[in-house]
Symmetry: C2
Subunit: 587 residues, 2 copies
């Protein structure tokens, strides 16, 4: 009943492989394996890690970085040319997003033809940059960290190499230090008043951590009058990942206004604007403005920015500081399933028979609710008497497990037969919860704290996809537990982008009868749709888009850390593969 609805096209949608940045670089082959495609060569992810005998690894696809840079650069260049915009386009890479040396070298290398610059905010980043700078052509640097003697030293080194160095001043303390070095150009960072939606909205507003209010700037200008002359850049930051285009519009309008004000205040040499907060990386690419899925594209963004400033008599140069957009896609985490655990085992066959008797009669959501209510009453009574007899506890556990299992199966069946409506299921919280809950827990050779720390730090959503059997309907919903002794070390949500499907029938897992997708609806599942590993099968899970921030935020919880890396790059012969070991300790 189910399998006829599954296809590779559906798998691509469900597992987020229709993606504006990754394109067809990550795809599914005819036999249902996840593959990486570079220069017409195809690598199965499973074969790559098995070849090196890795149970866990990071695959870095460096050509995806080049792909993103080219996409950004071409978009802006074309629009600038088409509109006769008089400012130029100055892309810079914010090092904090990923300062791994191999990434910085990729930005240098691929960015040579675009003159791609850098933004740094700390001494450590500056020292790394300075250590690599001599091998490449000079670039623009925007520094927005704190000032010390060592920082100044590193900045002067870059200046000597022919770099253009612009430094943000945020306080009297900064001004006093920068005053002594007239060769440094100045950036002014102003606090925006608007607050967009999204998890980084705290970073803005007049009480935000960064930037100056206009009045503080006016006072600074009075105390250090050389600032007016040396300032060349206006910096503003509305917080990362603004997913709604309307918020972006409001912000860009404020930026334009502040730019006008700044000129009025006498900062006539400011010819560059740096909006920082930028088109978000689409961790989910459904373009609905929700769940880190921006409702606009890079073209929309570039058009907005250019058209706002085109109207000005003095069109400023446009700085692009997108970091996630450039590097998020390049890193894949691949990890093997090392154990599969049931949520609960059912003990007593009589209980099963009893419950099946009730459940078979369910013909509507209302029937289902009645059965659930009945069982819950029994559970409640049992709970208060659990202490009295171990049999009560066993029965309690049995019913708790069975109610999910049996109701899920029955509802899924009549839903697929069309005997109840999709809306009925969607509008009932209890039923929907049962149908979207996992029945298995897969233990993976990973640590969320080491491999995808933002999943615990900012509740970041990462796309999960199995490395194999993608041509079959998923069999179960599973939560993914890591190796740490920490209850936070678990992935138990999944966004099913049914809104992008063109099919009609709801898709249900084969074994535990949970929902995989409902056409027309973006659904939140509480587990990942996967196949059940068979005995001795090497079943791998892949987490996509882990290339931004995760490398530096990695923690060593439980002393589980590091992963071997498989580096894929283009070469004259086609594709090069390198292995980097990091003294990792895993299992």
């Amino acid at each position: 009943m189910y399998s006829e609805t599954w296809s590779r096209e559906i798998a691509r949608v469900i597992y987020g492989l229709e993606h504006c940045i990754r394109g067809d670089v990550i795809d599914i082959d005819e036999e249902g394996y996840l593959v990486i495609r570079i220069k017409n060569q195809e690598f199965r992810v499973r074969d790559l890690v098995k070849h090196y005998n890795f149970d866990v690894a990071y695959i870095r696809i460096l050509p995806l970085i080049e792909r993103a840079m080219t996409l950004v650069y071409d978009t802006f260049r074309e629009l600038i040319s088409a509109t006769n915009y008089r400012g130029s386009f100055i892309p810079v890479y914010p090092m904090k997003v990923n300062p791994t040396p191999i990434i910085i070298e990729s930005i240098f290398k691929y960015g040579e033809k675009y003159n791609w610059g850098f933004n740094t905010g700390s001494l450590g980043e500056l020292l790394l940059l300075a250590s690599l700078a001599e091998k490449y052509s000079p670039r623009v640097l925007i520094y927005d960290g704190v000032f010390t003697e060592k920082v100044i030293e590193a900045l002067l080194k870059l200046l000597k190499l022919g770099w253009r160095v612009i430094v943000d001043i945020e306080s009297e303390h900064d001004a006093e230090i920068v005053e002594k070095h007239p060769e440094l150009e100045i950036g002014i960072r102003v606090k925006p008043i608007m607050k967009p939606h999204g998890k980084w909205s705290n970073s803005t507003g007049l009480s935000g951590k960064f930037g100056l209010t206009i009045n503080t700037l006016v006072k600074l200008k009075e105390d250090f009058n050389w600032i007016t002359e040396r300032a060349v850049l206006l910096h503003m930051h509305p917080g990362s990942q603004i997913s709604k285009f309307n918020d972006m519009k409001t912000y860009i309008r404020e930026l334009r206004e502040v730019y006008r004000e700044i000129l009025e205040l006498g900062f006539e040499n400011i010819t560059m604007i740096d909006p920082v907060g930028w088109l978000p990386y689409p961790y989910v690419d459904t373009r609905d403005g929700e769940e880190e899925s921006p409702d606009y594209s890079i073209i929309d963004y570039a058009k907005l920015l250019i058209s706002e400033f085109l109207r000005d008599t003095k069109s400023p140069d446009l700085v692009f500081e997108g970091g996630r957009f450039i590097v998020a896609s390049h890193r894949l985490l691949v990890t093997k399933v090392i154990d599969v655990r049931p949520y609960s085992a059912v003990h007593n066959k009589d209980t099963v028979n009893l419950l099946q008797g009730y459940v078979e009669k369910i013909k509507s959501i209302k029937d289902a609710k009645a059965v659930i209510l009945k069982i819950r009453e029994i559970l409640s009574t049992l709970r208060s008497s659990i202490e009295k007899d171990i049999k009560n506890r066993e029965l309690y556990e049995d019913l708790l497990a069975l109610i999910e299992e049996e109701v899920a199966q029955r509802i899924s069946t009549i839903l697929q037969r069309g005997e109840i409506s999709v809306n009925g299921v969607l509008s009932d919280h209890t039923i929907l919860k049962i149908l979207t809950s996992p029945s298995k827990r897969y233990v993976l050779n990973m640590s969320i704290f080491a491999d995808i720390p933002d999943a615990v730090l900012v509740d970041q959503y990462f796309q999960v996809v199995p490395a194999q059997r993608l041509n079959n309907t998923p069999e179960v919903l599973a939560s993914l537990a890591d190796l740490t002794c920490d209850s936070m070390g678990e992935i138990s949500h999944y966004i099913s982008p049914g809104n992008l499907l063109n099919t009609k029938t709801p898709i249900v897992t084969k074994l535990d009868h949970r929902l995989v997708a409902i056409p027309g609806v973006k659904l939140k599942l509480r587990g990942v749709p996967l196949s059940m590993p068979v005995k001795n099968e090497d079943y791998y899970i892949v987490v996509l888009d882990t290339g931004a921030y995760q490398d530096t935020l990695a923690m060593k919880h439980n002393l589980i850390y590091g992963a071997p890396e498989i580096i894929l790059d283009t070469s004259e012969e086609g594709v090069s593969i390198r292995i980097i070991r990091n003294g990792e300790i895993r299992v």
Copy 2:
């Protein structure tokens, strides 16, 4: 008006130095410096870091670890002896809490006389333990991680050294591996049904990440019948930091019930119980059961546990797995203030005069509200016209800053004069917010992500205290910004334990007129009460109780990481001081 109410006693209360574990080891000397006291020697924190020319450092006070271990051991031994409890006391240290080698060695060394054992959950922890084990007497080990060949190898090494090794089995996969090694004793981890309050409550319940339901256990026992005989330990975990004694009671009762059930199921060799979830570390020691401030003591806990199991015919040995309680207090983060920034500068003197005119007339909360309402109306009008004229934006910023400044000053004055009531202030959200908001932002030489990662990861509260000028009334409320380019890198809350004060008058900061404390009330401030650093003063901030988890959760955000360490220990001559450098990169 204010200074007469301040005293060293008040400072001790306000800055959390009346503490059940630290005792008088961390205190204030007569000149108002924060000091560390070991074996009658006194070290000023400021002098210690200045001596080594550190702008940031971790001070590790190893004797605080011994102090906590002794407190725990003595409490249990005394109660066991007084009640004629027939089981024994088996303390173990969970390595995940802090596996830094110097800490593990301290546990070995100080634990020699108590036969203190270990709990580990990963290969990395096991390898570290095995590398140190030969130097010390053999202990008990409880291992609750995943099984691989390498793990088994490390466990067998410890067995050879005379250790008692108990391993948790959580799945068929585990059982298949452990079956082959009959020399390993078995622990059974059962999922508790109860869910306590607190941020770790997700880790429990039947769908929790760890442990077995009774039915899964029954099934496991059927498939692997040797388990019954080899099992010696019952493991349960209600989640960390249960701060309410009533929750702890419920949990211990469930544990006792499960213990009885397990015996009934035939696990007759189980003679040890390990409740894991334990008396929380008091990050705030007000014993009110809130904000990680447990409403019970270690004596209450020991009494509860012993009295529950005393009633049983077969009193089990009691395993103690408190980790935070043992090591949280030992590490202090010391960091220098490198910049002080105002929240906003006020531009226009006329605006000040205008506003002061209004504010002077405030004689009640009602008056204050009326003024605020009036100004907010103006702000709202201004906001919509900000784009039209830079003067509007300046006025907007001025009013926004001034309303806080002026109202705070006026209200504080009449509050201290007794012209308005404390309850009036407390019950008005708007006024209270103004009076508890910071006026300054101190930039510190630290990274929250590297130094106190749990502050961002789980919103952990850490006690902050200045290293100097503790004999003066605080001058301002300040938010504490770190060096990262991340808006999350900021501390902006403070718990003022006025409920522990015996004084009468509200305490207000000298310069920005914000609330420091209200006697009788536990107050949440949005900034830390501090003095204003004067020009060229080396002003240090100390963050206490950072000894649990923070070392392994450290992140390298912005490539800011590592800190030099000052290790204080007792020696035959009195006190030893060692320095450890970690290749740190700061400013």
